[in-house]
Symmetry: C5
Subunit: 254 residues, 5 copies
């Protein structure tokens, strides 16, 4: 699979991963932003200067902004999305872009959000199955945002439940799985174990203090994860490059 | 993207936009009309004489009337639609025409109504995603009518909610987003900020007095919008060209 | 659009239309029939001898009976249908034949029933949109049976509501729209006005006395309609050709 | 339509039809079988030795057993099916095989079960419409098992209701319609009349005494039907060929 | 059908079958695993060393692990899947991989889980029908995991109900059907009889004592089944190869 290896080599550096995400405008709404970081250009520059190994965005952002950063941070095109207006009970994220569009935009991976356990799980399993198959045809790696969620998911933060979601990502063919941190290193070890050859990265989550965030980062790496996909914990800070540098020290050891 | 640039150059003049819309017969019913403006020819002529930079209509109107106005006002083909008979709770506007039909009719943009936050949001996100991708293949610009609406949308006029809808249009790849005016210039600035490189235009809304309408127009432009998509506030007036002239003075400064 | 003009010239004679319909076996059940008119051959002959400008039937009838009448009454193939067993609340008529089949059968138009305002309106708008686009590719005219119906339609006979349905037919691209008569000439004028360049014809409806039926016909024509699509008021009578002759006198003036 | 005529000539002999069906394992479950007739080979042999003019089965049976009987009883491939586990309220039978598979298996007709009046009627009308169109392309006759059923069907055995189902089969393009016997010859005459050029055959139904079954057969033929599609009344008997001989005497007069 | 025969000859040895399955990470979650058997490599080695005639896994496991075991245990690619988080009431397992992907991965059969009697039965019947047809085109055998389940299934362990599920697999075209053991040899004989030429294998089920498991195995084979598809009863044991050897003695007699 030379295509996938080539593309993954740009996202995984020395076996480690640090992705910047900026799809919160769609997933949470612009209330996540201030006057500076509401501008994609501002975040594109953080991705570049911070040396992130991937930048996860929707196609609208890629089409209107990426031209000026061609060849800098590897593009990870999110292929599905939703707003947070509808309830979580039967949460579903529908496809809004295709693998072919990702190829055309020069992406090095596609991102897909999978709500494991949702009453709409079957639709997402099916859609991801087809996306993953098409991605394979193009040598395009797949990254799954695997979140247990929906009416029948009792505790989204339960390590066993997150581990289940991570295992789904492995069995359905993801190359990398992004999960929420379950709160303890021991819990996260379960998740990493369940995912086996599927590389595990942790979400950054909502903004934490520097201390708490870096503590979390150390636990994540100690649990065997390959790194992080961060957003608000970087671009919501006054000095995003400072925290990035500290995070990279923990992830890459330099 | 020479195709999109070429087409957009016909709709955006000196950075500004003034679109006339006549899809109210479908969206609201013929009760919006009087004996004159119920005739599409009457409104086609307003579009031409008023110097509008775009005329947004359904395919039935385009196929039966546009021939006589070929090369005048740029055609914006609406690709979805609904009547207002069904409730807003789970509002959905289904595709009734295709990008290919827009190309065949010589359109310079397609229009798509996106009800952000509706329980049927996922279907519309998905359908718009495919339409936008196909439009890109044809060099066809996309204009999104972005309205927060449905059971879980508490206040359709809330600036933050409208800003969320505008941000969706940006992230999903629209070139221009039409939104409802949230009532204040300050509120509209939020919307314009959220949309970033996606051009924002305001709807005209239901008929206002000349004074109120022009006041609104000034606020819209002062907030940083690119212009308007109007309908009833123009063709429901006794002298539609007079108000058009005044509106153009505000938008284009001449 | 030479194809559409050619085909329409067979259905519209001197600007007027008189269609015979025999899809009641599907739409209402065989209880509409007696021993004679249950036989399609009987009705085919009425269509021919009565000089109708179109004969609207389902594909099963066309395939099994039309061969003997090739080149006589222009065929209008109904593309969707339903029985009247399910409730009207969320009424929906699904496609049962295709434009291509209509072309193959030598049809001069396709017929599509559109239940405006039904909770399933979106599905029908979408399906008709695709059918109309394909019909355009073949130069095939489209006739919409436009009926306001469903849970949220308060009064199916309200002139404004029927006018709304007729306007939908125009905006969605129908060439001819068949509507129910709202009871008064004045009300029907509203409908004709809303449809503009889309030719309006009235349904015959359930069987009336000769006097009432011909009175209705005069009002329909005086309101500006182009004619009728009749069924039971013709083939349920003892002498269908007599009433046809009287009807033609009113419609065509000869 | 030489293809259809050729294939129908194998199923309709001297204007009469006698089909053996063995899809009860799917439709009712193996409880219909005893140790002998649970084996498809046993029933294939009855079909052949009994001189049936068609054998209606699902593709799994055809693929695994028909090879040994190639060129004997004409194959009628059932294209849809369901178990009887789910309730009749919203009964639906989904496609499980295609027209192309029927062609490949050397079938002389396809069989489709249509639950007229079910809340899922629209789906089945649509699916049968497409199947019938594809069948036409291959010169493949269509046989509809037309059963009024579902929440809004008050009496499945009412002659007028069965006649309605038979009329649907005619209008939707079936060549042969199989219906349940409504209990009286007079009632069945209504059904035959409603179906017109669509050939009507009666189901055998659940097992009856010899006397009752043959009485029913005589009434069916006297009512103008073309024959029968039987199953349990043949292969559940100790001597299936004896009853077959008697039945053939009634149907074919020899 | 040389393709199917060739592939089946690798899975059926001397008329008998012993499949190892490892899709429990998806179907039940990683709680089924311990530190050793959570690693697919560990289970791949059991499949190889144990001389299993097939290894049933999801595509994610095949793509990331099978390369090292190419040409060893025949691959059975599961084409659908679900987690056990959603309720069984309306259980549905959606497609996550395709027949074409199975071919590309060098599989010798595809596996499909069919929940007979579920309110979603119709969707699965339809999807399996299409999968089976495509499999036939590639000469790819089909194995159905046939489980009666859902709101209207009163007793999943009832022999008659399991027999019904097995009969469905036969009629829909499966080559091999895997069912749950109904508890008695006599009950299982019913199942085997209902499936006729479709080869029946028993699931291993949740972990039993050696004695109970081997007793069950003997009953299964005595009932006429062709073998087993096992998982937890093998790889959850301390010495999986020991129980495998004992099981093979019962199935293959050596």
């Amino acid at each position: 699979m030379i295509g996938e290896s080539t593309r993954l080599s740009r996202i995984i550096k020395n076996g480690k991963i640090l992705i910047l995400a900026m799809d919160q405008g769609l997933e949470h709404g612009p209330s996540d932003f201030n006057e500076k970081n509401i501008d994609p250009d501002y975040v594109f520059k953080i991705a570049e200067k911070g040396g992130f190994t991937g930048f996860a965005i929707q196609k609208g952002i890629a089409q209107k902004y990426a031209q000026n950063y061609a060849g800098k941070t590897p593009l990870i095109l999110k292929l599905n999305g939703r707003t947070n207006i509808n309830p979580r009970e039967d949460v579903y994220s529908s496809p809004v872009a295709s693998v072919k569009e990702a190829v055309k935009l020069g992406a090095d991976a596609i991102g897909y959000t999978l709500y494991v356990g949702s009453p709409n799980e079957a639709i997402m399993f099916n859609e991801f199955g087809e996306i993953q198959a098409e991605a394979k045809e193009y040598g395009m790696p797949t990254i799954v945002w695997a979140y247990p969620r929906g009416h029948y998911v009792k505790n989204e933060k339960d390590p066993a439940t997150i581990a289940y979601a991570a295992r789904c990502a492995l069995e359905l063919g993801a190359d990398i799985v992004k999960v929420n941190y379950p709160g303890t290193q021991k819990g996260f070890e379960k998740v990493v174990s369940a995912a086996q050859k599927c590389h595990v990265i942790s979400s950054g989550g909502s903004k934490l203090s520097d201390k708490d965030f870096l503590k979390k980062a150390k636990e994540v790496m100690a649990a065997g994860a390959k790194g992080f996909a961060v957003g608000r914990n970087v671009w919501q800070r006054n000095d995003p490059l400072k925290i990035t540098k500290e995070l990279k020290q923990i992830i890459f050891g330099k």
